[in-house]
Symmetry: C2
Subunit: 159 residues, 2 copies
DNA sequence: TAGAGTAGGTTTCATGAGCGAACTGACTGC
DNA sequence: GCAGTCAGTTCGCTCATGAAACCTACTCTA
């Protein structure tokens, strides 16, 4: 059976997963953030099969997350670079990394992130854009937005 | 061939994906945040096959993200609730939702989140825990952390 | 006391996605 | 002319995914 698509779900989480929810996709994006751009470099670093890598790169390019740019004419060679849409995935990647650091890294984080502004190896925290106070699962509630379509009932968040 | 596991990668993103990277897992967790706890409710809301749902619930319970709690003895009935480890996935979910809202919701967000502290339908923003200033892909650089193991070379973030 | 309904699964089986490995084609450098 | 690099493509296998049917244990209604 074909893998079911999330694209007709009226939910932004599902739309995001439709683009980056495939096995390997987020790791390709992670490596792209680390500066990897070439097919063989992705393949070597990830240990992914070449055909799967090819599929993923094509679908990420189709989704507008990566762009394929020629860096040599003869021979014709391309590299894959994050678009702005791809760079906007940074908070997703960061949230995943921080969750992994906290719950699946007994020896401490394998990679730390230094904030250039203050020079500290720091953790990102989610705050409300409006009031600047912390925004956690228990401090919000979900309501239907302008793009809401029937069939999906937002409930109270976490009880 | 068996789907390759990410568990031996020295990377917290990979560890996170190992737990929630399967097709459907994040949507199950999203619904759990919306207050869904029962097998049949998950099944109906997601339109997922019952066997796949069963697999996912078992692996999320095994991973410690959900817990199975009896809410009735006769007949024996269980419900699935987020653990603290599961609730810690909120930033991941929020980042995905916000990315989807921005890049895949032409009619506006299907669901908005109201911050109880200020009453506004607000967006979460990632700031440095240390200095409080915004933390984006371009304002950080990756360095090896205490849990670093060879074979993985952190590079500069985004060029 | 029979029959319908509900909750939470389990089984079955066809399909297709993911896998490694080998191969291809276009080029460069020696 | 031969080795090496880069970016794929092809091949054949296996396992995960999917829908639908089935199962178990209990409750509710008549």
């Amino acid at each position: 059976m074909e893998r079911k698509s999330f694209s007709d779900m009226s939910c932004s989480v599902a739309q995001c997963l439709e683009v980056v929810g495939e096995w390997w996709s987020m790791l390709i994006i992670r490596d792209a953030f680390m500066g990897v751009t070439r097919f063989d470099d992705f393949q070597r670093r990830l240990g992914i099969s070449r055909n799967i890598l090819q599929h993923r790169l094509v679908s990420l390019v189709d989704a507008g997350v990566l762009q394929k740019v020629a860096y040599s004419e003869r021979p014709l060679r391309h590299e894959y670079r994050l678009t702005e849409k791809g760079i906007d995935l940074w908070p997703v990647l960061t949230a995943m990394r921080q969750w992994g650091d906290r719950h699946a890294a007994p020896d401490g984080p394998p990679v730390e992130v230094v904030h250039k502004d203050c020079g500290q190896a720091a953790v990102g925290r989610l705050v409300c854009e409006h009031c600047g106070r912390p925004m956690g699962a228990r401090s919000v509630r979900a309501v239907p937005g302008p793009g809401y379509r029937a069939g999906r009932t937002p409930l109270e968040a976490v009880h």
